[in-house]
Symmetry: C2
Subunit: 159 residues, 2 copies
DNA sequence: CCAAGATACTTGCTTTGTCAAGTAATTTTG
DNA sequence: CAAAATTACTTGACAAAGCAAGTATCTTGG
């Protein structure tokens, strides 16, 4: 029987704060991407492949934080653009392994400087230590397993 | 001609870190929303209206972090669902003011407990102080004006 | 070995995000 | 005070997000 403040203000809402912060950061990044010819999602895919090497679609989707279905739909175009290659490993033909091409790598490298500059500007304005601190906190946050024991409602266990 | 570490690992990339963190937080929230019958965006709109009262579309869009055009398209359905009402103020008939209905309020309140529980779980696992610290950092980050002096490209000044 | 179950994507559909234009209602200015 | 700007939305068009189903491929238990 409490009339407690059930909700925190949206200004102080974590999901919205994350959204807003991302909007701020992505502003200049999007400007850079315009000149690269790829969009945000394709850029993330290229970055993942550049960094981790050839991978299965599921893995790429997880790393690049996009749905497998979305990834499926962008692979075709990216292959045609010559940015990546697609292959089916003989040992498991359900899978699709994609890899970045030299052209894709070139595109990524061509914007490394701009990308670094953007980060530099953020770091300069925000402060190196605070940025590191923020990244640490975000990293820890994403490690939380919130799927475990719900407080009251038994999580839907189907699926 | 440098093979310097032009990119930080995606794990340490601020845009991706923000995305991932948001995914983590939104997981349980989305579960809750499924049972509420509204999606994330509609939920944000309802929360804004519940918290700030009747407002013009532009204001709601800014508060709920969505584009005015997107909001325009969801207002119709939400009115039909009986969650909000729409009105044109006589003193300025360009505007549209929306307000939450008792039904909309009921929907929001019906999930206040779950919502609070989710936040509680995050706070419990993450730590109250660290959560506050994170919110402070995010709030400061979103205040940055990164639109100022681009490194090399002259920012599009039109608009 | 074979039907039943997992996996790893694919597709279909509806809702949003984005951007560019367009429209109606005020304000401002010559 | 009428034409030119502004403001506040709307619409259109198309890519992408999300969610539900569907389709090959393995993998397994009987």
């Amino acid at each position: 029987m409490t009339d407690a403040p059930a909700f925190r203000q949206t200004r102080r809402s974590l999901p919205i704060a994350l959204l807003r912060a991302r909007e701020t950061v992505m502003g200049p990044v999007r400007d850079m991407l315009v000149s690269s010819g790829v969009n945000e999602q394709k850029w993330r895919v290229l970055r993942v492949l550049q960094e981790k090497g050839p991978q299965e679609l599921s893995q790429v989707a997880a790393e690049a934080v996009l749905l497998l279905s979305s990834l499926t739909r962008m692979v075709g175009p990216m292959v045609e653009e010559g940015l990546i290659t697609r292959a089916t490993p003989p040992e498991d033909r359900r899978k699709t392994v994609v890899a970045i091409t030299p052209a894709g790598l070139a595109l990524v490298n061509a914007h490394a400087a701009q990308s670094a500059a953007i980060l530099g500007r953020i770091e300069a304005e925000f402060g190196h230590d605070r940025l590191e601190q923020l990244l640490d906190l975000l990293e820890d946050l994403q490690k939380l397993d919130l799927r475990s024991g719900a407080t009251e409602s038994v999580r839907k266990t189907r699926r």
